[in-house]
Symmetry: C2
Subunit: 458 residues, 2 copies
């Protein structure tokens, strides 16, 4: 076997369609990003995205945290109200995001504050408060300065919104807490039009990753916009699948925040066939959403608190995709693996140990990832299948463990360590069990992470 031909030493071919790190605003949306002086620093902290032709189909994925913040609870209720039948996908006219205060653990007054913001925006847009979606990020346990937010709503809706890439980029910038970069990603696919012609459909996402707002939570927010046509149920299905394969495979420090939210809105302005009824459009749109989500997740992992290295773990040869995802998640979540990557240590023992502990939680994610409801519930707490005698592991293109050998294999540790001296380290596992594949994204554990999270007192 030629070493170069061993697929274990190369990344999985998961980079299609091509994603551009640009804020290409899809037709049908206008946006703004500015400062409403929620942050004392005066940095941007107010983002607004509006569907300029009226309410559009929308879907969401929310944090499962029982301490879901006021904006999360209000958005969930609004989508259920516009969607009907208790489904969290309905119609939305606008997404408002405030940064600086998470409006989490603020009790009934926090709910009232968020509702007042929604009422003010609905009034300014001449729509129902149930058609407003809310995002918030920042310090837990302090109130939003409602007056300043409402004042900015009035000013921005009067003359601050624009249907330009610059305006969407400004909105993305206003999501940031202390992210070191503005996170945007865009993909365009050619979908069939009603008359058979190929029509470009754009999917663009903006996101924030982990911040250093004080006290810090590993918060993540994202808004994905498209000019494709789709009904709420189709959007919900496509978003859940994409999130299961991308954002659910992202870990910076294992803490799921009170505010994590992803919204997907579809204006239908591209003129392509409706994804709800056209199978080919649905597949293309799903691929574009997943590609955008994947790129944003990678940007978020790379910008993790204190991180210096993006860790990508990819598994092939798993019993199924759910097992592959569970194993990659276990590897990138292991503190010992994260610390080893930081030290450029090709420590396959820690990777094998983490893989051996992988468990398939949780049922909802498994279901979104392709298992039936019954299978997902039954398998949720099941260990993932790994056979030490079949497993092979490569780090940064170097084979470091081969379970098919009779005993320990010799590893060129110096060469492997040198290859790890990079902005991204790829950990590849092949399980030798089946056709399942999957990946997960994380970052190294650094002394800087500990310093950032222990040095200051709230």
């Amino acid at each position: 076997m030629s070493v170069a031909a061993d697929p274990l030493l190369t990344p999985l071919p998961l980079d299609r369609p091509v994603v551009e790190r640009a804020a290409r605003i899809p037709a049908g949306f206008v946006a703004a990003g500015t400062s409403a002086r929620i942050k004392v620093s005066g940095r941007p902290d107010f983002a607004l995205i509006v569907a300029d032709g009226g309410p559009v189909p929308a879907a969401a994925v929310f944090t499962p945290n029982r301490f879901a913040a006021a904006p999360v609870r209000l958005s969930r209720a609004n989508l259920q109200a516009t969607g009907g039948n208790g489904v969290t996908a309905g119609l939305a006219r606008a997404v408002i995001c405030t940064s600086g205060s998470a409006n989490a653990a603020t009790g009934p007054v926090g709910d009232a504050d968020q509702a007042a913001i929604g009422d003010a925006l609905a009034a300014a847009l001449g729509t129902s408060p149930t058609e407003i979606l809310h995002l918030s990020t920042g310090i837990i346990g302090i109130r939003l300065p409602v007056d300043r937010v409402v004042d900015m709503i009035d000013r921005v809706t009067a003359d601050g919104l624009a249907g330009t890439d610059e305006a969407l980029f400004a909105a993305a910038t206003a999501l940031r807490t202390t992210d070191s970069t503005t996170k945007v990603a865009s993909a365009t696919v050619m979908a069939p039009g009603p008359d058979g012609a190929a029509i470009p459909v754009t999917v663009t996402g903006i996101a924030k990753g982990v911040g250093m707002i004080h006290p810090r939570m590993a918060t993540m927010l994202s808004v994905v916009l498209t000019d494709a046509a789709a009904d709420p149920a189709t959007l919900r299905s496509l978003l859940r699948v994409a999130a299961a394969r991308t954002w659910n495979q992202l870990s910076v420090d294992g803490d799921t925040s009170t505010n994590d939210t992803v919204f997907l809105l579809a204006s239908g302005r591209a003129g392509a066939s409706d994804a709800a009824t056209d199978e080919r459009t649905r597949v293309l749109l799903g691929a574009a959403i997943e590609a955008v989500a994947r790129d944003l997740a990678r940007q978020q992992a790379a910008d993790g608190e204190g991180a210096s290295t993006l860790i990508t773990c990819q598994v092939s040869g798993a019993a199924d995709d759910a097992s592959a995802r569970a194993i990659t998640r276990a590897v990138i979540s292991s503190s010992l693996v994260k610390a080893a990557v930081h030290g450029r240590d090709p420590n396959w023992g820690r990777i094998a140990g983490a893989a051996g502990n992988a468990v398939l939680a949780e049922a909802a994610v498994l279901e979104a990832g392709g298992l039936s409801t019954e299978d997902a519930a039954a398998r949720a707490a099941t260990p993932a299948a790994v056979d030490p005698a079949l497993l092979r592991i490569a780090i940064a293109g170097h084979l470091v463990y081969d379970g098919r050998a009779r005993g320990p294999v010799a590893v060129d540790k110096v060469a492997a360590s040198d290859a790890m001296n990079n902005e991204e380290v790829l950990i590849r596992l092949d399980l030798g069990l089946g056709d399942g594949a999957g990946e997960a994204f994380g970052c190294d554990l650094t002394e800087e992470y500990v310093r950032e999270n222990s040095e200051y007192t709230t």
Copy 2:
């Protein structure tokens, strides 16, 4: 309400029976600890415990890691062979522990090495190899020096074993990798004798915690000995319940190792009633085993890699004990909570966030903790019940969050931070939902942890 009377500000009353940190060897066992030169440093690395009157009932809890090391797989097979019917509880004559090489991920040659050691010890003791239990800890992926271990078996069985506390302490010391302390705990309870008289029954455990052996895994090993009389099935039941409440509630860095093992052996020499048939003895013995396991788990958490502070999280008012245990486990496992404790930051937002993410995995542990098999399987991946509007949180005796208040409550952060300046920090939650209670043990996350785990290359 007087502040001093609020039970939220004090520890749960879980410290009975009294535990002494001494290696009181129970009647019926002899022990030794010495150096077999597995470690190049020459420090003790060979421990042997023998039931001097022949095989005794024994039970075990093993790591669920799919990369279970050779000693784990051999011990499991041996207990199944002597116990019959596939149950991992049977008879054991001796426990041998080597430190320095984990004999993990060593393939078929590792299995052969471990079997050779078992054969040599069985021959020396004139017993069957299936009556030998094995423990090993240390570097992954290197072979044991079988010749040196067998040589030491011959020398120690010839004249090195003694039924003294000093000999058992020496065995505990030989378990250590780079634990900074030797970990022993002992409890004595008065159990009914056959004629109604109260008979002292002793339970003594030795353990090792996380080490700095290179590459490091958060390995934990323990051997618990008692002079109580009990059959294998009773021992298995008592050990599973105790482990579910203590060791399963211990996390240093979330990585379960390839070698984690706890053995429980009962010589029956105290002369008390048999725990298999006498309910009162069974309850007393179970309480003593749990108290010893709890104290060892606390020693292990306090001595975690790079740790400067023992974190104990206790929950009262939970829907049930399983929920309480899940929530405490989530809190002490959170990197953000661990970093906040390191910084003496009374950061209740991170604690609430972690509690809101708690999930009840895993089924086997839930079952051992008291749920029926059916309930445990159904609930394994279920989020634990937490109502933010009822939750109250205290850190180091200071109330920091009260969900029953209308909005955020004022916290004396300086006083709370000062109270955290201690070797142990108690995080108390009351859920206001029911009578469930539980606790978990962890340690702070320090820059030293990251340094220790990233600085060296294998």
